[in-house]
Every structure is written in C-alpha cells, then in structure tokens.
Amino acid sequence: MKTTMLAVAGLTIMAGCAATTQLTENERQTRAEAMLKAGFSKGNKAMAERVVQQDETQALCSKYPESVPEAIASRIQESQQATIRYPASGNLMGDWRQGEKIAQDGWGMRFTDMGSPNRPMGGNCYACHQLAPDELSYGTLGPSLYQFGKARGYTDEVRRYVYGKVYNAKATNACSNMPRFGHNGILTEQQIKDVVALLMDPASPVNR
C-alpha cells in the first residue's frame, strides 16, 4: 500500500504539467497491456506471447523502475539463484577464442533472426562491456571487464561466480539490466563456458 502510494506520487511529480494522473494503477496496467498486445497484430505469435506474458521477475522489476524494495529484491534473487544449472562435469572453462566470438556476436532472437539449429545465438557482450583492449567499439551500459580475471584471481570461486552471472544475472542483482543468458536459453552451457574462459583464462586478451 505504502509503495503504491509512493509510486503514484512519483508519477504525478514526473508528469509535471499533467496536473494529476487520471488512471488508477490497475487501469493503467490493464489498458497499457491491452494496447501493447493489440500493437503486435502481425508477425510471430509465439514471440508476441512471450513478450505480452511477463514472468514474475520482469513484472516486479517493471513495477519499480527506479529501485526495487529490498524484500522484493531478495525474493527475486532467491528464485533466480535456484534456476542456475552448473555443468555436470564441474568444468566451467571453455575456449576464450570462442568466447570472444560470442562476445562480438549479437545475432539471435529478433524477429528477423529468431534462431536456427545451425547457428548458435550471440552474447553481444561488447554492446555493453569493454573486454579485450583491441576492440574499440564497446558499450558502457555494464562495467568494463578488461583484466577481469587478472584483477580478481583465477580461482574456482570467481569462475563459479562468472558462470552464475552469465547464466542468470538476476540471481545476484535482482533487476540487473543484463539478460539471463542461460535461464532464458540465449546461450548454451558450452557457450557460457567459453565466455567464462574469455574472462578467466590467463591467456585471454581480456587478461593481457
């Protein structure tokens, strides 16, 4: 109740010259959701279904765009931690060269490149992170990962952390902007291991 009131107050302030909000939170949600659904009249139905239907984490994080209340954050993190599947072999390291390719590649899951059995999807890491120093075209939405392993130590613990982070970033940061690559089936187990190697292999350009 308290948070709802705060949210409404926040919206009113943001709306500024729009003196008062006219819709209740429920009305706003119902209408916006119906509007969104109606706007996807063409194209792939399954894809539309997946976007119209939010999961709990998405719905909660959308509800608190500024910062999610602590209790809700821990609830999300707990549920997301439970989704992480570590490799049965226990080996978390793949090939950093493959990892670099995955980091460069943004292919997959758009309505023009919905996936193919012959073409693995990309991780597009460089869109948001600095990694190998030779790549000048990197984004800054996420922190720089240059010298990641070198700075933290090439330990099992850090490798496990990285694997988990790539698999489901929401397990450690409830409303992280980072996609849940393993949980949402963007990258395969082997691909995640390759990305771990990109960050954690001493021979990787990231650590040179």
């Binding site: 943004g106 990309g122 597009n124 460089y126 000048l136 075209s137």
Partner: protein, 157 residues
C-alpha cells in the same frame, strides 16, 4: 522532358549513348562522357593494377596531397566521407582507392583547368583499410594514403 530523355537513353551503351546525347544537342562533344567507363581500372583487384589501368605507372609519395574532411574512424563503412586536396601544379585527375575493397578503385575525377584540385565524396569500405589518393599531374603520378578504421557503431550484430 527529363523522362523523355531517359527513355531515349535506356538501353544505350557508351558510344551510342554519347552519339544520341550529342545529336540531341544535349551534350556538346568533348564533355566528359567522351571517355568510356574504365572497366579494367574499376575491376582491378589491386591498387597497382588499377593505377596501371588508369594509365599511370610508378607512384611517387607526395606530401602535397592531403585528405580533408576525412575521419580516422568511420562509424559506418557504408558511408565514409573522403576529401582529397592536391597542391601539385597541373593536377589533372584525382583517383580514390580503398586498398581492402574487392575492387579498390572507387572514383576518378578529371580536373579541368579552372577547377580547384579538391574533391569530396563518400565511399563504402568493407573493413578498416588504407585509402589512397592518386593524383596525375603534368603526366606524372603521385600518391598519398591514410588509414581509416571502420567500427561497429550501434546495437551490434
């Protein structure tokens, strides 16, 4: 009127086209089209082959050719601004070549007397590469080059 001209021109090859244009009073003889498109130069696979096909031999490096309004980095290889300015006396032509393009020659400009030896255009680059400006002046051939990096600009992939 323009449409009619285009209709006349459709299907015309180089020489016929010129004849039609000249007959129509549209072009005066001697206007640039007298030169047929230099297929050999534009299809050459290397800088040297292209320059040879343009009628030039060994190229001398020249500090009197400068790139103007030409960036070091291109956000998109589809559109890379290239400006070439020559201060070599009697500059007759300026060619722009991209080393790593499948066919390096992008353009060749004839500079008649009275026209400034500076041209600016935009080229496509498939990847980071050296770009060459080859100037013919008083029968000799000069060259300058510049590296341009092509990067990925946006959301990627």
């Amino acid at each position: 009127m323009d449409a009619r001209r285009r209709d006349v021109l459709k299907g015309g090859g180089g020489a016929t086209l010129l004849a039609v244009l000249t007959a129509a009073g549209w072009l005066k003889p001697g206007e640039a089209l007298a030169q047929a498109w230099n297929k050999a130069a534009f299809e050459a696979r290397t800088i040297d082959e292209a320059v040879k096909a343009l009628g030039g031999g060994a190229q001398a490096q020249s500090k009197d050719i400068v790139f103007v309004s030409t960036p070091d980095i291109a956000e998109n290889g589809a559109v890379v601004p290239i400006g070439v300015s020559s201060s070599i006396p009697k500059t007759e032509s300026i060619a722009i070549l991209v080393e790593k393009n499948p066919s390096p020659l992008a353009a060749v400009f004839s500079i008649p007397a009275g026209t400034g030896p500076t041209v600016t255009t935009r080229v496509k680059m498939g990847q980071s590469s050296n770009v060459y400006a080859v100037v013919k002046a008083d029968g000799k051939v000069f060259v300058a080059s510049k590296e341009i990096k092509v990067t990925l600009g946006g959301c990627g992939g």
